[in-house]
């Protein structure tokens, strides 16, 4: 059929290449059939997302139902602990103290710093309230806890990393009379503040609300001591 040896070799080689192509193409086609298509991947991802959402809502429901049914003692205990941790709003009798900067016109040569409210003024006031048995404290709707700071932040005061400017409103829950008289002691906090012209208003009330602590509390360094009473 072919005239010379060379032609035979060439046609053999060409056909061999053809065969290789056939085989690889066949294998690729088989592979494509078995591999998961992009469409399917997207479909599955979508379904996974919905399933996860469902799971989240169901977990929430389980939690809610758990709270409702049974375990009343547990629930009470949890509420009590949360109250102690400051994670619940509290209400009751107490005093509301409103502080505002001095209205006194500073004379030339006077230090204006003396006539404005500083963090240590607030701290002294709160310390006094605590000493008088205040059970829950808040500054401008920020709950004061053991980890709350009251510090100077430029012209403002920062409480729980939230900045406030005057007027400051401090709510303390406790026996109203004791609290107010502790503040109004002769030579006490209010007298000192009044001396600098800072306006201090104390109101007793039978129904005050202290908000819950809004931040989060993490223990990065402190750990529960081993063998501590549970």
């Amino acid at each position: 059929m072919f005239r010379d040896k060379q032609a035979k070799v060439l046609i053999f080689l060409v056909c061999m290449i053809l065969g290789i192509m056939l085989a690889t193409q066949f294998k690729s086609a088989e592979n494509a059939k078995n591999s998961i298509s992009q469409q399917r991947v997207e479909d599955l991802a979508e379904r996974l997302k919905t399933a996860e959402k469902d799971k989240a809502t169901l977990t929430e429901e389980v939690k809610k139902l758990h709270k409702q049914s049974g375990g009343d003692a547990m629930a009470l205990e949890i509420t009590a602990l949360r109250a102690r941790a400051g994670e619940t709003a509290m209400e009751g009798p107490g005093v509301k103290v409103t502080l505002d900067d001095s209205t006194v016109v500073t004379k030339p040569g006077d230090n204006a710093n003396l006539y404005i409210i500083h963090d240590d003024d607030l701290l002294r006031l709160i310390n006094e309230l605590r000493a008088a048995g205040a059970e829950a404290l808040a500054v401008n709707k920020e709950r004061l806890l053991d980890i709350s700071e009251i510090r100077c932040a430029g012209p403002t005061v920062s409480v729980n990393n939230t900045r406030f400017s005057p007027p400051y409103q401090i709510i303390a829950l406790g026996e109203p009379k004791t609290l107010e008289s502790a503040l109004r002691l002769r030579g006490g906090v209010i007298e000192t503040l009044k001396f600098w012209g800072i306006s201090v208003k104390v109101e007793q009330s039978d129904n005050l609300t202290v908000p819950a602590f809004k931040g989060t509390r993490r223990y990065e360094f402190a750990k529960v001591k081993e063998g501590a009473p549970q």
């Binding site: 046609i11 053999f12 060409v14 061999m16 290449i17 065969g19 290789i20 494509a32 591999s35």
Partner: protein
């Protein structure tokens, strides 16, 4: 007639041991395959007709294949389905070649 068949069989055996072509190149390879098939059949037909020429055969085989692959590739790049054009053209030629080969065999 025995050489082409042996060649294809050997090629298939070798090809089974080669790695799979990535999904992106499957179209290009299929066009090249059509071109190779066309050239192979063209060669057989030419040999039957007695006007077989080595140079034409080899150059046709490679140039057709590469040109088809290039056409298909640029089609993909340009968003035109030139792939179908190549497959159609080679398909028609393959059928013509087969028909001529069949007739030449029957005439003998």
């Amino acid at each position: 007639m025995i050489y082409p068949i042996i060649g294809v069989l050997v090629g298939i055996l070798v090809g089974l041991y080669l790695p799979i072509v990535p999904q992106a190149y499957v179209k290009l390879l299929s066009v090249a395959l059509m071109a190779a098939l066309d050239s192979g059949l063209g060669g057989i037909r030419a040999a039957k007709e007695g006007c077989y020429d080595n140079e034409i055969f080899i150059s046709g085989f490679f140039v057709n294949g590469l040109l088809a692959v290039f056409l298909c590739y640029s089609g993909i790049r340009l968003g035109i389905d030139l792939y179908f054009v190549a497959v159609l053209a080679f398909g028609l030629r393959i059928f013509t070649n087969i028909a001529i080969i069949r007739r030449l065999y029957l005439k003998k």
